[in-house]
């Protein structure tokens, strides 16, 4: 049971590493949004699944806690993409220019 928790948390951390590097290195707003929207949601969900297994003791899950964490996962899964969608909408309306290969980001 513990090893399942380790596995999920480590995979989640790897995805979050990707997210933060993407957020830092990508050249324009839309690509950053791509990194943040996908990697962030996925890594959060993975780490939360890891937490479900981390709190069970000796091969037995704590069911109420597991249910609550599943609820959190559900809400993150609804809320985070909605927020990303809203921000993308804003970027498009406000006229953030996409990056092109000549490096003209303005």
């Amino acid at each position: 049971m513990e090893y399942i928790a380790y596995f999920f948390i480590v995979v989640g951390l790897i995805f979050f590493l990707g997210t933060s590097i993407g957020l830092l290195r990508f050249p324009d707003f839309y690509t950053r949004m791509h990194a943040a929207g996908k990697g962030d949601t996925l890594s959060t969900v993975l780490i939360l699944v890891g937490c479900i297994f981390a709190v069970g003791n000796q091969g037995d899950l704590n069911w109420i806690l597991a249910l609550k964490i599943l609820l959190i996962i559900n809400f993150v899964f609804i809320g985070s993409p909605t927020a990303t969608h809203a921000m993308m909408d804003v970027g498009e309306r406000a006229g953030a220019k996409p990056w092109n290969k000549k490096g003209e980001n303005k």
Binding site: E2, A5, Y6, I9, V10, L13, F16, L17, T19, S20, I21, L23, L24, F29, R32, M33, A36, D40, T41, T44, I47, L48, C51, A54, V55, N62, I64, L65, K68, I69, L71, I72, F75, V76, G79, S80, T82, A83, T84, A86, M87, D89, V90, G91, R93, A94, G95, A96
Partner: protein, 95 residues
Amino acid sequence: MNSFITIAGVTLIGLMLLVLIRVIKGPTVIDRLVAVNVIGTKSIVLLLFSGILFGQLDMFVDIALGYGLLNFIVSIAASRYYQHRKSLEQKGKTS
């Protein structure tokens, strides 16, 4: 288990520092908004981690649930703001 969670938490904070750089640097407001949204989502995870470290996760999970519910209000409010204002980098007054 506890030492693993501690290491994972410290790693998470370290990665959040990278996001913080984007918050400080970000050329437009929306870049900052994206980064702050990421930090908010990761706060849920850190809350659960500190619950595991305290050994009383059943008390901490409610706070994380509240965060999960409320976290996207700020993004939506900002999006509505720009939907009505339609400009990213306003200099000076708009009136």
